[in-house]
């Protein structure tokens, strides 16, 4: 048994709550861990500033800005988990990556986290690098990587793309949450029993991940229904789309 009032359950609950609100506050991680994740985050953002050019053109750039704004709004909308004193909210990494591409997603997610930290005191300032690392980098890499792998094996249909989107969105949540637990184990300012925490986390985050997958599939599905050509992750569907395009909408006629 753990000593004192913080029993095992409340300790687990703490870590769960902390990660559901994935935004890490200042003080939870030590300086080396914050600096290390911050450096990784900064390097990736610098790279993304160059690589995102390949994903952005006159047609897709407006959608990228809108997607960031949408993710900001979505992250405000905490949904309750049945039977638990815990809520979860959208991360939006896979949503953004599938819609506008992974490099652009890194930038969009970083802007969202920056606005939240600076204007709304949501997520610490010294923890901003950690938050960018978890939600703008790791969630995108794991989620979009999985999405690409699934798209390669699933049928090149709308249903195939949406299935891949849902599974990837689902996986991105426990990926980010468990990575935080790992960071906390390495650089946390308080000792946490790792094994039991990981086990408890899986259940809670499976529930949150269902919400993430549902929102992501709904949004990507809606854009696919209206403008499938704008969905970065649905490039394989484009040929069919071109055939369906009305001649009154010539490609490139943007002004």
């Amino acid at each position: 048994m753990l000593p004192g009032p913080p029993g095992r359950e409340s300790l687990l609950q703490t870590v769960c709550n902390k990660v559901d609100d994935v935004h890490v506050p200042d003080g939870f991680l030590d300086v080396p861990t914050s600096v290390a994740t911050g450096a990784l985050a900064a390097g990736t953002v610098a790279l993304a500033l160059r690589k995102a050019r390949t994903e952005l053109d006159d047609r897709t750039a407006p959608l990228a800005g809108l997607t960031a704004a949408f993710v900001f709004a979505g992250q405000m909308m905490n949904f309750p988990l049945p039977g638990l004193p815990v809520s979860g909210h959208l991360i939006g990494a896979v949503l953004t990556a599938v819609l506008v591409g992974p490099w652009t997603a890194v930038l969009c997610m970083t802007v969202v986290l920056l606005v939240q930290a600076v204007l709304f005191a949501d997520g610490g300032l010294t923890a901003l690098g950690t938050n960018v690392f978890l939600m703008a980098l790791l969630a995108v890499v794991v989620g979009y990587g999985l999405f690409r792998g699934l798209v390669a094996v699933l049928p090149r249909t709308r249903a195939g793309v949406l299935t891949a989107t849902g599974i990837a969105a689902f996986a991105s949540v426990p990926a980010a949450a468990l990575t935080f637990v790992g960071l906390f184990e390495v650089g946390g300012t308080v000792d946490v029993p790792l094994g039991t925490v990981v086990a408890a986390m899986a259940g809670v985050h499976a529930l949150i991940a269902i919400g993430e997958a549902a929102i992501t599939v709904a949004v990507v599905g809606a854009v696919l229904a209206v403008r499938p050509d704008l969905v970065h992750g649905a490039a394989g569907l484009r040929r069919g789309v071109e055939l369906q395009r009305r001649p009154t909408e010539p490609a490139g006629a943007l002004r």
């Binding site: 709550n17 952005l56 949408f70 900001f72 405000m76 909308m77 638990l84 809520s87 854009v223 909408e249």
Partner: protein
């Protein structure tokens, strides 16, 4: 932008404004369980106020005022600022005069 693209964009923006400006009032407040849980364990001591905790929009409220309007205004400001920053950045970075589906 094509008409359909513009419609999609405006609809998306309205949805974002609606979610942040109105829907957020109905969001679950459970994550504040973080504070609750931190009090029951050793974590409370390790969490520090953000340097921006004194921001007029801290905690998604205007001047710390709890309420539907305050939270709604904070949400709308957040959506607009995010759109301006991310939209501006992606517009600056984009390859001009090209579309991926050309040719």
């Amino acid at each position: 932008m094509t008409r359909r693209g513009r419609t999609l964009w405006i609809a998306g923006l309205l949805l974002a404004l609606l979610v942040a400006g109105v829907g957020s009032w109905y969001a679950s407040s459970s994550p504040d369980g973080l504070e609750w849980a931190a009090e029951h364990t050793g974590f409370a001591g390790s969490a520090q106020d953000s340097a921006t905790a004194g921001s007029p929009l801290a905690d998604y409220q205007v001047d710390g005022e709890e309420g539907r309007v305050s939270g709604g205004v904070a949400g709308v400001v957040g959506v607009v600022v995010t759109l301006a920053l991310a939209g501006g950045l992606t517009l600056v970075l984009r390859r001009r005069g090209t579309t991926a589906d050309q040719g």
